[in-house]
Symmetry: C2
Subunit: 119 residues, 2 copies
């Protein structure tokens, strides 16, 4: 019998071109705090501890295709958050209703997809 | 003054070609449980509640480039987990030591990158 998975926790790592700009965007957009870093990495944490840590990793190449993994941020007011985050440099891509839920698909300043959805 | 971010929680969404195969892999590899689904979606949850929910979403297109967002799974024994997860259909891509940490980079059966790192 195979042994059981033993995952203690997870961290999300996002490739970025502009480490400082993306640090500012992700902190202002989602409430992360820049907690430290070394070399090409910046570590962002959620003071409320409701979201996993986010590690921004500077890479030389730009985004070339849709990410197959993305984050859905659940928020109380999708339209208000979409407008606020758009003003920080994100782009609104699509809006849809599906299975009774209201979604807004957006891209961060480097084109990484994320969604806003009602909690 | 801009209002503050109001994120309640996040969910991770992964695009997949083979919904059933990827459901089995992600559950066996990381301890998620298939908790339900509708249409092209399967919702996977962590019974220990240490990881965010994972929503697998069937899409028509295959992976075309490195994902710019990936998950780092922190585990007690990286080599044991890498061997166990490889036997479930993942591929080991690289192994490195960086800043005193031991990382293994892997790909799931559809080529999605993830890392194993010591807790």
């Amino acid at each position: 019998m195979a042994s059981s998975p033993r995952v203690d926790y997870l961290v999300l790592t996002l490739d970025v071109l502009d480490l400082d700009r993306q640090t500012t965007f992700w902190c202002e957009a989602f409430g992360y705090k820049h907690q430290g870093g070394v070399a090409q990495y910046h570590s962002l944490g959620d003071p409320a501890d409701k979201m996993p840590k986010l590690l921004l990793q500077r890479v030389p190449e730009a985004k070339a295709a849709k990410n197959r993994l993305h984050i859905d941020f659940h928020v109380a007011d999708v339209d208000a958050e979409a407008a606020r985050i758009e003003a920080l440099g994100a782009t609104r891509v699509a809006r849809r209703e599906e299975f009774g839920l209201h979604w807004v698909t957006m891209q961060d300043p480097e084109g990484n997809e994320f969604c806003l959805v009602v909690s």
